[in-house]
Symmetry: C2
Subunit: 277 residues, 2 copies
């Protein structure tokens, strides 16, 4: 079991500034303007390096005592810059962060140091995995309180933030959050439906927070606005462990609307001659 949110906050208050912030935030943050056009702060394409081994390991990871390996090199987590009113949300962020660490998965996220954002980022960083935050310049004074967590890429607007997060990640997970979190999740679902990507998308439905969203998707399918096979795009579970396990097994079952090769998404690293996935 993960430590509780409150306990974790106490620990961080006492020790995080001495021990926790292992990255050199100033390294990337110190010259904001120069970073606006940086393309890849992670020099090694971990996903591609791991591809083969990860696929081999998926079938038998339960048969060993070693930490489960993963098909994912990096996962993008969408979540609030608030922590919510109840400890259950912070606990879920901690648990998800620890789940990523146990599988050796790096974190891509919105770059804030507050709320659930800051909590999961610090957890992953403390666990020894790399953390990349992508934040619009206008939100830096609002979502970064004190030092930043991990490496931070500063971008100019919300579209650039989302495109960069999508490009960097092999999968997406939404923790509880507000409008922005819901929108980021829905955009990645839309892009999967369209065929822009085929990366797994998970919903961490903490204590039923997203029940109404799932009901909305059911309504959309029942009324003819969402095709039934596209209703399966989202992978949902109440705990991080269940969610990650389901996402490792995800394969696309829907018919893409337009082939990926028809999209000119230079932001995502592919255009008329796409590469990778």
């Amino acid at each position: 079991m993960p430590p509780s949110f409150e306990a974790a906050k106490d620990t961080r208050d006492n020790t995080a500034h001495k021990e926790g912030r292992r990255a050199k935030p100033g390294q990337l943050l110190s010259s904001t303007a120069r970073l606006l056009h940086v393309h890849d702060p992670f020099p090694s394409p971990i996903r591609r390096e791991r591809g083969g081994a990860a696929e081999e390991a998926m079938g038998d990871s339960a048969a060993t005592d070693a930490p489960p390996s993963s098909r994912f090199g990096r996962i993008c987590v969408f979540c609030g810059s608030n922590a919510g009113n109840r400890a259950v949300f912070g606990d879920a962020a901690l648990e998800l962060g620890q789940g990523l660490v146990s599988r050796g998965i790096e974190l891509v996220y919105g770059g804030g140091s507050i709320g659930l954002m800051g909590l999961i980022a610090q957890t992953v960083l403390d666990g020894g995995c790399r953390v990349l935050g992508v934040i619009p310049k206008a939100l830096m004074p609002l979502e970064i309180s004190g030092a930043s967590v991990g490496e931070v890429k500063v971008v100019s607007d919300m579209h650039e933030r989302k495109a960069e997060m999508a490009r960097q990640a092999d999968a997406f997970i939404a923790l509880p959050g507000g409008y922005g979190t819901m929108e980021e999740l829905l955009e990645m679902i839309t892009w999967s439906q369209l065929g822009i990507h085929d990366k797994p998308i998970g919903l961490l439905n903490v204590d039923g927070y997203y029940d109404s969203l799932l009901a909305l998707f059911d309504k959309g399918a029942a009324e003819g606005f969402i095709k039934s096979d596209c209703r399966q795009i989202i992978v949902s579970a109440p705990t991080a462990h269940e969610l990650l396990t389901k996402m490792e097994r995800y394969t696309r079952s829907h018919q893409e609307v337009a082939p990926r090769t028809s999209w000119e998404m230079s932001e995502l690293g592919y255009g008329k001659t796409p590469e990778g996935s």
Copy 2:
């Protein structure tokens, strides 16, 4: 009362191709590549021309027999490229289109000629108001069946589509739709919350289609992920008339997260030295 969806479809099948398509779709569509960087297919900034008169008219429009004037020059409508399984959805699209026409409001939309998209676009065009569709090149073979409706601007990706629609419109309305519609709506809410724009955002909650989405927003506010004043960003009503009436009266009541002047949104027509609203 508007004609029913089924009756309208019959009429369109018989006459639309002779009488309805008043625009010259070939004019803009014929050279797709050239259009990728067109900036404004509407040469006259109607919103600005109308600004003063619209504000004066808002208070007393109910006291005259003349069609109500509007503070809005153009409204962007998000909706499905499907028509839904029940006639009530098509009826709502027709009613909304007629509501725009009666107020002299131009339409900005996703550019498709099928589903609710095509229905509202044809209704507005037939009513004598201009229609601008913004469609990514990859979706053209899928969402434009036969001739296009009104003027069409072809863009390269989904982000460019949304930014262009946001730039062109003075307000946004979501009709029932699937993932893409929900996401477009949520992005405009997010941008309003952040302070990127302060344009009204309406939800046409046809026969309770979006009840679950409203319940999700309530949940977000109750759990501390959406500030209570930001819960008021979305204006919701079951009919087009009620919705447009409410939107005419909308004023922002929430505190923006970051001032608009801090956003470098060149796509939206403003950067470090913003102009207009």
